[in-house]
Symmetry: C2
Subunit: 265 residues, 2 copies
Amino acid sequence: MADSHPPASAEKPGATSPAPAVTRAAAVLDALAASATGRLTLSDLSREVGIPKSSTSNLLLALEEARLISRQGGEFTLGRKLVELGAAYLGRMDEVQEFYRYCEQASVLSRETVRIAMLDGTNVIYLARYEGHPAVRLTSNIGDKMPVSLCAVGKALIARLNWHDIEEMFPDGAELPVLTPKSLRTGAELKAQLSQIREQGFAFEDEESTTGVVCLAVSVPTRGAHGPSLGLSVTALKATYTPEQGSQMVKELQELAHSLGNPMG
Amino acid sequence: MADSHPPASAEKPGATSPAPAVTRAAAVLDALAASATGRLTLSDLSREVGIPKSSTSNLLLALEEARLISRQGGEFTLGRKLVELGAAYLGRMDEVQEFYRYCEQASVLSRETVRIAMLDGTNVIYLARYEGHPAVRLTSNIGDKMPVSLCAVGKALIARLNWHDIEEMFPDGAELPVLTPKSLRTGAELKAQLSQIREQGFAFEDEESTTGVVCLAVSVPTRGAHGPSLGLSVTALKATYTPEQGSQMVKELQELAHSLGNPMG
DNA sequence: GCTGAGCGTTCACTCAACTGAACGCTATCC
DNA sequence: GGATAGCGTTCAGTTGAGTGAACGCTCAGC
């Protein structure tokens, strides 16, 4: 956990929510998701979220009734309803369906491993994966989170942000998480790549998350006002990767990104 | 809940929740998940869930702040936070990781499509899928729900319940959902299979959910006191399926189920 | 241009949800 | 064995969240 946030102070001190119980319930869910074991007692949660035990107890009863959490003995865990809701979110995204359809019929991408991801703070979350290339079996799964600095799609996504936000997220000296010897180490190294990514219109990852694997990624132009920032990536083995192949992949990724961003086109 | 559900009367009339705002917020999420388009306006939600617009507005503001929903113009959709929470729920289950590891190295299963699911009322929810057999591309995805009567894993899971609960869920005359000509039609038909499933230790599905496809499934012995009921299934094409292959698959499924149920073994 | 239906928002009143101190209970410790 | 610390639950007072009527707004229809 590189992020310095004090464990789970999910409640804004000054701001007052129009439905505090809901805000606090969400904080409880966050605390459970963030905890190491995924199991917390009432007292743990009360302490973590910063609300009285009696109130926490009421929240937990309501959350349990809604199956958003589950009680096992004296411990609470996230509830299975969350799987349903998360799946409903994914299943409903037109983008995901369009993504599959395009990959199936693309000339180069149809034989590769392609993923669609969204930006979430300093991480990306993988939403769906098309596997046209069964030989490459990757560890990442739907719903997985990955620091933006470690993957092409992350770099492609933050390259679209304004510099002020980027500076705030990644000060020059910021230490980045490392997975391979080629992983970027500092905020400065990361930012050095962004202007190039902006110019050429795609991001490249050279064994920065997995040795032997390279990635290409583009961002999807935001559709509508507040849609999530989506990105597309394709993964290839470095051993067989060629620049010619790469430029064709980028071309198809950009075509897909364009059609995702402009549903009418 | 033999739900002939009136759209989304998520609020119990008599019962009073210890934190109504949370219960109602959960009902809002359900309504969004259940809606056809996944996009509802404030008025839609107010009508659907049965609470005043002003209160709904407050709930939506709080939910939006927590990123559990997202507002796009005048319409609301489920929020990306749900993907994270759902993934946190899944990621925390040791079972899923162990499931993948085992499938990778199994002699028969490693070449098939294997899934792990959990019981949720009269449905099963698919938690993870291993695809060792890329030729068989199925429509079901992680998080999908399926009535228990229509799949092998559903039958395997309810076979473990006590008769009283089963009778309550599936009275003899109960009409079951139908997907193919071979789908089971009534509670009586379903229950007739259960004792056999208990005796032989696995469940079989013969084109009951998809024509041309057969499934084998076993249930995982419940680990600990209140863990969710997990089941495993393997899917095969009827055209190429042989009983010899089937018995080997069952053997491996049972082995996996046993190791999932007894983490020390 | 006028009307009406439907949308989301605002606001003062009121009832019920939140609080925190006290309780009973179960380990754990010396 | 008695004392302590920590757990979750209970309960009455009070504050703050929920209510619904009224508002301003947009869009369709005639």
